[in-house]
Structures are given as structure tokens and as C-alpha cells.
Amino acid sequence: MALTLSNPARRRLRTLGFLSPWLVGFSVFFAYPLIATVYFSFMHYNQIKEPTFVGLRNWTYVFEQMPLFGPALWNTLWLVVVMVAVRVVFGLSLGLLITKIKTGAGFFRTAFYLPYLAPPVAATVAFVFLLNPGTGPVNEVLEAVGISGPNWFNDPDTAKPSLVMLSLWGIGDLMVIFMAALLDVPKEQYEAADLDGAGAWAKFRYVTWPAITPIVMFAVVTGVVQTMQYYTQALVAGKVASGVNIGPGSVIQPGYPDHSTLTVPQLVYQLGFQNFNTGAACVLSLVLFAIAMAVTLLLMRKRSGLLSAED
């Protein structure tokens, strides 16, 4: 032991040895492609001929000329704001509910958690079926009580709200996180508030909320980062709801109906892998990266428990 500890060079080597899988992974699968993305954003490259330098032309193309950039950015920001806000409020409400349940808590926890596990593609296909305007069970039930249901995934106005509903079905992760946070709030504080004659709202506002703020912050920031990557559900919902035959090789316009579900990541895929416009796709990637980094830095600043416990 004395030998290993007294020898700094050997210790450094040992540390490097343990870290080596990640060091290789970080350089090859993160740093290199990131630099290459920046490089390609200044190149014209159709993935066949050699890349040629075009200066800022890809950048001006994306920001000024590309017709789908506006809708895609709008949809992504819409989803980031609405989906994250609704999910956090609903997740917190369910967390509060589950901590109040005295009978059958295990059953309810499982019921609320289970849909989170449904693979996104399967959950989306299921929701497109449940919400299909003609014969879907949801509209059938609504009709039975005299309401004519909306067209859900087939109407540009309700397509994104339908995706929000899908995301609420999979609220399980947030519910568990909030539940754990709520159970961590010291009981004595509630008892003290009771003695002061505090009502339910006052207790939430002055005892619960301050204690769980870091977790709410954490949920918001990770929610924003996840929603910026929002891809699978939007793509699958659009494709399946459109009813277009999607064999391999067939190119479809993403974002059905009427670009209302087109997100920035989908546009990256379309530009890079369907139009082979590598430069413009890389510009979009960097826009995504910039937003993600800004949010991550915010997370670091607020700490929210992520980097604590440095022992």
C-alpha cells in the first residue's frame, strides 16, 4: 500500500487506467463528432463527392431560407414549455396524492408507474389507435356521453396536445422522484405548522415547497433537455396517424398533420439522411447543442443536487 500511495506517477497511471474506457469513449464518440459537426457546418457535402468549403452559406440557408426551420423550432419550443410544465405539475400532484393514500398504496403506485415502462414506439402506436378519430375507443366513449371528440393526432391544433397526453401517461418516473422527495420532508415541520393552525395550502407553500424546490428544479431542467431531443413519439405519431405506407426507402414528409409535429431533431434526420444536406443538418445540430448546453450550465449553476456530495 505504501508503495502505491507514495508513487504519484503510478497513482496517476492507475487513475487513467480506471478511467480509460470513458476517456476513449469521450474522445471518439463525443469530442471527435462534435468537432466534425462544426467542420461540416461550413462545408457543402452530399456524402458522395468530397466536401467543399462554403463559408456561412449553410447557416444563412437554415436561418433565412429553410421553410421548415421556423415550424420545427416553434414546435420544439412549444413542447419544451407546455410538456415540461404540465408534466411537472401533474407529476407533483400524483406524488402528493400517492403520499396521502393509506389503502392499496402499492397497487396505485404500480398502476401510475407502469405506463412509463411501455416502449415509446409501442405507447405511441397504442395512443394513435386509442385516439383515432373514426373508431378509437376514446372518441367512442366520448360519443356515448354525448361529446363529439376532436380529431386528436389528425388535426394540427390537437396533435401536440395529444402528444402531451401521451407524455402524461408515462409520468411514472417523475411521480417516483417527487414521491421520494415528499417523503423526505421532515414530519416535525408539518407538526409545527399544525400547531400554528396552518391550512393545507399554507403547509404546502411554506413547508413542502421550500423542501422540494431543488427536485422541482431538477425535474424542470432534465425535462427541458429530454424534450429538446423529442423525436420518436412525434415521428411515430405523425407517420402512423397519416396512414401513409412507410416501407423502407419511401420518403415521407415528417410532421403530419401540416408540420404540427415536426421537431428540430426530426429535421436533422430529414436533412442529413433523406436530403443528404450534411452542412445544413450540422448547423441544426449545433443549434440544438447550443440550447442543450445553455440549459446544462443553468443546471450546474443551480446545482440541484447533481454535483453535490463530493465527500
Binding site: 480506471f18 463528432p33 401510475f112 405506463p115 414506439v121 422522484i177 422527495a181 443538418a281 442543450a292
Partner: protein
């Protein structure tokens, strides 16, 4: 109440013996009303969460013609739909590919994450904080940001497009999310265990294998489960690398094409949908504890 038959043994908590009298009766009534209110809301919400599964299942056993109608309850039960799904060309290949991707991906991730997480949690070295910041940055990075250069490397240098290997191989080099989670878990292992192992003459590697890994089993189980689910659910990765070769599709990727192959046959699509959901749900029931532990690890501990 019907809820008592549904699950956990916990009874509505009887408070300590109450003094008699009108005030006590009022308090008791308030408690009962509160119990009823909470459980009614809970039952209503639980129904909303469970009903989608029920509708999907009921449709999956309908006849072709009934599945096109708006009926909610099957006239006759066509279990053979599931057999038809299994006999769809490619369906078994997708299963095999999903298992290969998720199985190997999980194995690689766990093996590479353990030493890195151990070093980040327990070694003191210069740049430790920077390394941790970089891990978290990687974790936050949308996969779409780096996908184009990565694809070009795998396709042009290694000629591996049309396979799942470009998704599996990187997992042998440390997945950031798994490293982060496992490190958070390892922080909770007291230093004394590790020091006493070294006093006994164990090197760092032996200490890791003999002491840390057995103590970190719940954490390792959590990252293994998460990674397995991540691979099983992944759609973007297979779409990038395997789209052009149906022989390499996974269940998650193939499912969507299933809908187009059976066009309007919601019954077949719903049967396939349930078959894609089934493995994760079965695994969940066997590993519930590790799972919930892992989820809370992401946000609460640390």
C-alpha cells in the same frame, strides 16, 4: 371499500384512542371523508392509467372486421392473432435483434461503467471535478447533435451501416448516464470498507472486484435495467443504422412498419404492440425494487 381487495395490506391508519364526545366524532368524520376523497381521486386516475392497456388488449383479440368498427368489447376472442403476429416474416428476427442489442449493450455498459464510476467516486486526483462536469455534459447532449459524423465514420470507414454494431460497440466505452448514476451510488459506500481492503493487501482492482462490486449490486442492477430498457426502446439508433436492412431491425423499429404492413388491421398492430411491451413489464415485476431505487437515484440522492 373495494380498494382494500386490490393490493397492499395497509389499513386506513387508525389514530390513537380518541376521547369520546362531539369534537372527537367530528374529527373522525373529517378523517373518513378525507380518506374517501383521496381514494376516489386515486381510483379515477388509476383507471385512466390502466384503461389504455385494457383497450389495446381487447382490440388485439378482435376479428379483422370487428377491429375496424368502433366496438370496445370483442364479440369472439381471436387468440390466433398473436400466432399470426409471430408468423409475420421478420418478427422473430426483430426479437432476436432486440435481445442482442439490449443484452450485449447492457453487458458492455455495465463492464465499462464500473471502473470509471469507481474512480470518479473514490479516487482523489486533479481534474476529478472537470471529468464529472464532462460526464454530465455528455449525458445532456441530444444524440442528434453528433449523429451525422458518427454515421459517416461507421458507414464509410467501417462499412457497418445496416447492422446494429455501431450502436453496441460504443457502449463498451462508458455510457455517461450509467457512469453518473453508478457514481452517485458508490458515493454512499463508506470509505472504511475500501481502506480496510487495502490494509489487507488488495490492490485497487481487486478491491473493486471483491469489495465494491458486491456492495454496489443494487446500483449495478439499476444501471443494467436502465440500459436494457434504453436499448429495447431505442428507435432513433436503429433508424439511423439499420433502416436499410430489415434483417437488422429491432422490435421497436419494426413495430411501426407493422402498422403499414397490416394497414387497417388494428387488431394485429395492437397484438404486436402488446408483445413489444410485454418483456419490459415482465422484467419490471421481477425487479421492481432495483427500478424504483434507480429512478430516485437520478434525482434525490447524492
Amino acid at each position: 371499500m373495494t380498494t382494500t381487495t386490490l393490493g397492499a395490506p395497509a389499513a386506513p391508519a387508525p389514530a390513537p384512542p380518541q376521547p369520546h364526545g362531539p369534537a372527537a366524532a367530528r374529527a373522525r368524520r373529517k378523517r373518513v371523508l378525507h380518506w374517501i376523497a383521496v381514494h376516489s381521486v386515486a381510483i379515477a386516475v388509476a383507471l385512466l392509467f390502466v384503461l389504455p392497456f385494457v383497450f389495446v388488449f381487447l382490440t388485439s383479440v378482435m376479428s379483422d372486421s370487428q377491429a375496424m368498427s368502433g366496438d370496445l368489447w370483442p364479440d369472439s376472442w381471436h387468440w390466433s392473432n398473436y400466432k399470426t403476429v409471430f408468423e409475420t416474416p421478420g418478427f422473430l428476427d426483430w426479437w432476436r435483434n432486440s435481445l442482442l442489442y439490449a443484452g450485449l449493450g447492457t453487458l458492455f455498459t455495465v463492464c465499462s461503467a464500473i471502473p470509471v464510476a469507481y474512480a470518479l467516486a473514490k479516487f482523489r486526483f486533479r481534474g476529478r471535478r472537470t471529468a464529472m462536469l464532462l460526464v454530465i455534459s455528455t449525458m445532456m447532449l441530444p444524440p442528434q447533435v453528433i449523429v451525422i459524423p458518427m454515421y459517416l465514420v461507421w458507414a464509410q470507414q467501417f462499412h457497418l451501416s445496416g447492422t446494429l454494431w455501431p450502436l453496441i460497440i460504443p457502449m463498451a466505452f462508458g455510457d455517461a448516464y450509467s457512469i453518473f448514476l453508478l457514481r452517485q451510488f458508490l458515493l454512499t459506500i463508506p470509505k472504511e470498507y475500501i481502506e480496510s481492503a487495502k490494509v489487507d493487501g488488495c490492490g485497487e482492482f481487486r478491491t473493486m472486484v471483491k469489495i465494491v462490486v458486491p456492495m454496489a449490486k443494487p446500483g449495478i442492477a439499476a444501471i443494467a435495467l436502465f440500459q436494457f430498457f434504453y436499448c429495447w426502446n431505442d428507435y432513433f439508433g436503429p433508424q439511423i443504422y439499420a433502416a436499410q436492412n430489415p434483417g437488422a431491425w429491432t422490435l421497436s423499429y419494426g413495430l411501426e412498419s407493422f402498422k403499414s404492413a397490416h394497414s387497417v388491421n388494428w387488431n394485429m398492430t395492437m397484438a404486436a404492440t402488446l408483445l413489444v411491451m410485454a418483456p419490459v413489464i415482465v422484467i419490471f415485476f421481477f425487479a421492481q425494487k432495483a427500478f424504483v431505487e434507480g429512478v430516485t437515484l437520478t434525482g434525490v440522492k447524492g
